[in-house]
């Protein structure tokens, strides 16, 4: 959390003290959230939509491409297998039509016939002639199947019915996988069945030459789902396939199926006409889609990086925006408070002036009456020797004078509010300011040492502003000093109609890092003591308005010196 706190906006924990109907306008966290949501929606919404759309379209295209390629492969393979079977069927038909019965049933010729067929067409294991009773009365081949009876075999009954028959692959009497092509043959009113066993090895070899993608398999099944040719991953010959048997279709079709392990397969199939076979090509979809997926991962990775970048930009833009509003509001509030404070001070100043004036008149009467009493005593012989009376009267007159100086200072302070350029005596101005802090200096045993060079002439400036500058600097010095400290206020002439006024304290000093920031608005180290951070900022502004400059030197633990260089001739700055 410490790391995340570094990124927390400054307004995040701000508790608004505002109330009323517009309170929500000052909920900066909510303001930030709304900006972020809006920017995210505007920036990422179209991007994400486009990415999803592109993902769907390219996946659909990739799947269609796979389906098309699989369908083409199935069609080609079907033609190859059909051609293989048709070729052998036609060869047998040719033999029957062009050999007289007497020659065909000749045992020696029958053996030669097998040799000739394998030499020209190839792929035959044996040949046989069977009567309608199922007796094989001629046989040519490697097995001892002469006089074998097939009357009970299903294929035999089917060939008698349909005239031609191509069997499933089956084990039969020879106990090896094979398939049979049988043709019914009629001569002299008698039916015979001409049977040939096709070499399934040749058949298997034919299919193994087809190379589908995606760890694919090409094989034949019958309508019961029994494998007619070996496979790589779906079982051996005569096993039942675990995939569902595809529904009948006259044309090549491509479907998607899921096996028991959850693996998704692209299955292309075609029913071979006039045979019990279904040609199937199975391909693992995950393997086929891998190239597409790889491309997508690259694109998604770039997209994610891009989105992260956009989110960062949104975060910083929204934070910057709301921070500016927050800072502006903070400054507005502080300024309002300052204006309110200044206004209150102005009212107090005017009130003081009014009170001072009203007090001055009765004070003047007391002064005159006491003065008259003293005159009477001084000028009449009978009272002249009564020193006690004179002491008391002098005490009254001294008190009146003291009250007079207080009222004069109050009147002088009230006049600060007027922006006027007037001729001032620098020492008097500084003494006026120090007068406000005399009591505090006494209570805290702070020694104030004022030295104003006598050669400094009276000069024109804005008395109020100069007094406020000095008051702020001296106030700050008092705040920084321990009880018993020393404050030096010096004024001396400088080059070319300038004077230098320095305010030096032996207080806590300002750290070097803070020195650059002391004139910034709202920078304060006294926030817990009610500091607004505006005092030096205002002071700096006033110094500039007087056409003056200010320098500061400070050492922590030693003290601070503010040095103002003020022109003796005022030029008004707008």
């Amino acid at each position: 959390m410490g790391f995340l706190n570094q990124f927390k906006p400054i307004f995040w924990d701000h508790q608004s003290t505002k109330s009323g109907p517009f309170k929500s306008l000052f909920d900066f966290r909510s303001l930030w959230r709304k900006r972020v949501i809006l920017l995210v929606a505007v920036a990422l919404g179209p991007l994400i939509s486009l990415a999803i759309f592109d993902h769907m379209v390219t996946r659909y295209d990739a799947e269609q491409e796979i389906h098309l390629r699989t369908a083409r492969l199935v069609s080609n393979s079907r033609r190859t297998v059909s051609f293989f079977l048709d070729k052998r069927k036609s060869a047998l038909d040719f033999v029957l039509k062009h050999h007289p019965f007497e020659i065909l049933i000749d045992q020696e010729h029958f053996k030669v016939l097998l040799t000739d067929l394998n030499a020209t067409i190839g792929g035959f294991t044996d040949l046989g002639l069977i009567t309608t009773a199922g007796d094989q009365f001629r046989y040519s081949g490697p097995y001892d199947l002469m006089d074998q009876n097939y009357a009970g075999e299903a294929w035999f009954q089917e060939v008698l019915e349909k005239g031609i028959y191509i069997s499933n692959v089956f084990r039969g009497f020879r106990d090896t996988p094979h398939l049979v092509i049988a043709i019914k043959y009629q001569l002299d009113g008698n039916d015979y069945v001409f049977r040939a066993t096709v070499d399934t090895e040749r058949f298997n070899q034919l299919l193994s030459e087809v190379t589908p993608g995606g760890n694919g398999d090409v094989f034949l099944i019958n309508s019961q789902g029994v494998l007619q040719t070996p496979t790589r991953s779906h079982g051996k010959v005569m096993d039942t396939i675990e995939l569902p048997i595809p529904e009948y279709s006259e044309h090549t079709r491509v479907i998607e199926v899921v096996d028991k392990t959850g693996e998704r397969f692209i299955v292309g199939y075609a029913y071979l006409k006039d045979t019990p076979f279904i040609l199937m090509i199975t391909e693992q979809k995950s393997v086929l889609m891998a190239p597409w997926l790889k491309t997508r991962i690259v694109i998604i990775t770039f997209l994610a990086i891009g989105m992260f970048g956009i989110l960062l930009v949104i975060y910083f833009v929204a934070t910057h925006l709301v921070t500016q509003i927050f800072t502006a509001d903070l400054r507005r509030s502080q300024t309002l408070r300052e204006v309110e404070h200044t206004s209150r001070l102005a009212s107090i100043g005017r009130l003081s002036a009014g009170v001072a004036h009203e007090i001055n008149n009765p004070l003047a009467i007391i002064n005159e009456k006491a003065g008259l009493l003293k005159d009477l005593i001084t000028y009449r012989e009978e009272y002249k020797k009564d020193q006690k009376l004179i002491v008391h009267l002098d005490s009254i007159l001294a008190s009146v004078e003291r009250c007079g100086s207080i009222t004069k200072r109050l009147l002088g302070f009230a006049r600060h509010l007027d922006v006027t350029i007037q001729k001032i005596n620098l020492r008097a101005v500084i003494e006026d300011v120090l007068g406000f802090l005399t009591k505090e200096a006494e209570y805290r045993s702070i020694t104030v040492d004022l030295r104003v060079d006598e050669t400094i002439p009276d000069f024109e400036t804005d008395r109020g502003k100069l007094q406020q500058i000095l008051l702020n600097l001296i106030n700050n010095a008092f705040a920084a000093m321990q009880d018993g400290g020393t404050l030096d206020v010096r004024a001396r002439p400088a080059d070319s109609d300038m004077i230098k006024i320095s305010v030096t304290d032996d207080g806590s000093g300002i750290p070097e890092a803070d020195l650059k920031k002391i004139y910034e608005p709202f920078f304060s180290t006294k926030t817990t003591k009610g500091g607004t951070g505006l005092g030096l900022s205002i002071t700096y502004g006033l110094i500039q308005e007087l056409g003056a400059t200010v320098e500061v030197e400070s050492e922590v633990g030693v003290g601070t010196q503010f040095l103002i260089t003020l022109p003796l001739h005022h030029t008004r700055k707008e």
Partner: protein, 119 residues
């Protein structure tokens, strides 16, 4: 040496006159601006010591009226406001000697009176 003291505070102006009298300076006094104008008309004064802020007619207005009657009359002002600005506004008039801030020191007043009469 004819001096007229004018201040709406009768206690102040009468006492001030008495104190001047003790010091050998006879001064006539009044607490009303209107009465002051009558006195100025009737008698040729050399110097008028006027309070700035008075009811009905202020010290500055009184000065303007008096100047019409006695153009040679000189003036010292006393004020509870003690404003240098007021002084600046009247300083171009060579007949105005000074502004004294209340409460007034009698010795300073006498020195200013002497300065006025010496001019």
């Amino acid at each position: 040496m004819n001096i007229l003291l004018v201040d709406d505070e009768q206690e102040l102006v009468s006492t001030l006159a008495e104190r001047l009298s003790i010091r050998g300076i006879e001064a006539d006094w009044t607490s009303s601006g209107e009465e002051a104008l009558v006195k100025v008309t009737d008698q040729a004064y050399d110097l008028a010591v006027l309070d700035v802020k008075m009811p009905k007619i202020s010290g500055l207005e009184l000065q303007a009226e008096m100047e019409k009657i006695r153009p040679e009359l000189k003036y010292i002002f006393m004020t509870g406001h003690g404003s240098e600005r007021d002084f600046r506004s009247g300083s171009s008039d060579t007949r105005t000697i000074c502004y004294l801030i209340k409460p007034v020191n009698i010795d300073i007043l006498i020195s200013k009176i002497k300065e006025a009469l010496a001019r």
